[in-house]
Amino acid sequence: MVGAVIVLIIFFSALGAPILAPYDVNAQNLTMSLQPPSTSHLLGTDVYGRDLLSRLIYGARVSLGIGLSAAFIATTVGVFVGVFAGFLGGWVDWLLMRIVDVLMGFPRLVVMLLAVGFGTPSIWLTLTVLGLLAWMEVARIVRGEVMVIREMLYLKAAQALGLKRSRIIMGYILPNVIGSVIVSTTLLIGTMILVEASLSFLGLGVQPPNASWGTILNQGRVDPVGAWWISAFGGLMIIITVVGFNLLGDGLRDLLDPRSLT
C-alpha cells in the first residue's frame, strides 16, 4: 500500500523532527535570505534566511497534528449524530439531518473568519472550528449504514432477545459501521490538512513564526517566481500528504470490505 508508506514516512519525519531537521527551525540568518536550493540548504531558504527543509519537517508536526485532531473531533461528533439519527429515526432523524443540511451550506472559510474575528487565531481555535465544521459528512455516512443495519436480521434477532438499546448500539451497530468510519476519517484527515493550509495561507490559522505548511506557502508569496522553491516544495508536501491519506483511505476501504472477510 503506497498510501500507508507515504503516510508513515511523513508521520515519522514529523515525529523525529528535532533529529531530522538540519537547522534550527526558527533560526533567522538574514545574510542567507532567499537562497535557492544548494548543498548547505537542500531546499533553499525563506525571506528570513530560515532553512526551508527544516521548516517543512517541523511544519509537518503542526499540519498533521491539526489534520488528525480535527478529523478526530469531526469523526466523534459525526458518529454520535449518525448513530442517533439512524437508530432512533422519526423526528430525531429529521431534525438532525436538517441541522446537517444547514451546516453543510456554511462556507467554512467565512465561519473561520468570524471565529477568528471573535477570538484570537491559534492552533486550538483552528482545529476546533475545523472539526466542528466537518462532521456532517461522517454523520451522513454513519446514518446511512445504521439504517441498513437496522433492517438486518441479526438486529431483529438482537431485539427479539430483549437487549437494551445501549447493548444493541455498542455490540451490533458500532462494530459494523467502524469500517466505513475509519475510511471516511482517513479521507477527512487529507481534507483537514488542505483546509488548514488554506486558512494559514490567509493568515487565519497557525500564526507565524510557527511553521505550518500553510504559513510556509504564505511566505512563498514574497517572490513566487524568483523564490519558486518556497511555494513549490511547500505545495508539494501538501499534495504528497493529501494524496497519501487518500490512497490510504481507498486501500482501507478495500481491506475492510466485509466481502474480503470471507
Partner: protein
C-alpha cells in the same frame, strides 16, 4: 389436546404496508399483506403456516415479534396483548418468543463470535460468574450439536447448516416457550434439512417447546406439525390438524398445493 394451555392467539389480524408516503399531491399507496387472520397455538403444539412466498406469512411473524404494527386485530401471548404493553413488558415477552429466520447468513452479527452471540441471549444476572456463563453457552452449543471448538469462530467461518444451528442455540438462550421458525430449512441442502428437522423435534421434546413453523415445503410440514394453516393472499383458507389437511383437504387451494408437491 383439550387440556393444554393456550399460548398464542392471533385474532383477526390485519397488516398493511405503505409503499409510498402520502404527500400533498399523492395518496399513500397501501398494500394489504394480511387481511384478517385468526389462529391459536396451544402450549407444546406445533402449528405450521404454509403458503407461497408473498402470501403474508412473514408479515405475521414480524407482527408477532413486535416489529410490524398491525392495522387492527390482536396478538395475545398468554392472554396479554403484545401491542398493548410498555416497552419494558414487551422486552420480557419478547424473550419468551424467539425467532429463527430463513437466512442464517444475515441472522448473525458478522463481528461477533459464536460464543458472544449466544451469550447475549442469556440474562446478565442469570449466572453467578463468567465460568458459569461460559458453561451455559457450551450447554446450548451442545444442545444444537456443536462443540467447544465453535465457541470462538466467526459466522463467516461456518457453513450454512452450522450457522442455522447457532441461530437456534441463540434462540434457546433466553429459555423461550415459543419458537417462531420462519422457513428455517429452505436455505439448506436436503441432507442438512433432515438433520435439522430431527434436531428441532428432539429439542421440542426435551425442552417442552411450542413451535410456529412457517414453510412452503409440505413434506417437512408433514413431518413436524400437528396443526396446519394454509395461507393464500393474506388469508387462511384452511386450518386443521395435520391428518385432515393431508388426507382430506377441504379447500381447492390446499389440494393444489398437495398435488404440486406430489403428496396427493
Amino acid at each position: 389436546m383439550g387440556h393444554s394451555q393456550l399460548l398464542l392467539s392471533v385474532e383477526d389480524l390485519i397488516i398493511h404496508y405503505q409503499s409510498r408516503k402520502s404527500t400533498l399531491f399523492t395518496k399513500p399507496e397501501i398494500v394489504s399483506a394480511v387481511r384478517g387472520v385468526t389462529f391459536s397455538i396451544n402450549s407444546g403444539e406445533t402449528l405450521a403456516i404454509v403458503g407461497e412466498s408473498g402470501c403474508g406469512k412473514t408479515s405475521i411473524v414480524m407482527s408477532i415479534l413486535g416489529f410490524v404494527k398491525p392495522v387492527s386485530g390482536k396478538i395475545k401471548y398468554k392472554g396479554t396483548d403484545i401491542w398493548d404493553v410498555t416497552r419494558e413488558e414487551l422486552r420480557g415477552i419478547r424473550r419468551k418468543i424467539q425467532p429463527v429466520f430463513q437466512d442464517p447468513h444475515h441472522s448473525l452479527n458478522p463481528r461477533m463470535t459464536v460464543g458472544q452471540a449466544i451469550e447475549d441471549g442469556l440474562w446478565p444476572h442469570q449466572y453467578e460468574d463468567m465460568i458459569e456463563k461460559q458453561n451455559g453457552v457450551l450447554e446450548l452449543l451442545r444442545a444444537v450439536r456443536l462443540g467447544k471448538e465453535h465457541l470462538n469462530t466467526y459466522p463467516h467461518q461456518l457453513s450454512g447448516g452450522q450457522k442455522q444451528r447457532v441461530c437456534i442455540a441463540r434462540a434457546l438462550a433466553p429459555n423461550p416457550e415459543l419458537l417462531i421458525l420462519d422457513e428455517p430449512l429452505s436455505s439448506q441442502d436436503l441432507s442438512i434439512q433432515a438433520t435439522l428437522v430431527n434436531l428441532l423435534l428432539d429439542l421440542k421434546q426435551k425442552k417442552g417447546l411450542t413451535y410456529l413453523f412457517i414453510s412452503h415445503d409440505l413434506r417437512i410440514v408433514r413431518s413436524i406439525a400437528q396443526q396446519v394453516a394454509v395461507m393464500r393472499d393474506g388469508i387462511l383458507v384452511e386450518v386443521s390438524d395435520r391428518d385432515s389437511i393431508f388426507n382430506n383437504p377441504q379447500h381447492s387451494y390446499t389440494e393444489s398445493l398437495l398435488k404440486s408437491s406430489g403428496l396427493l
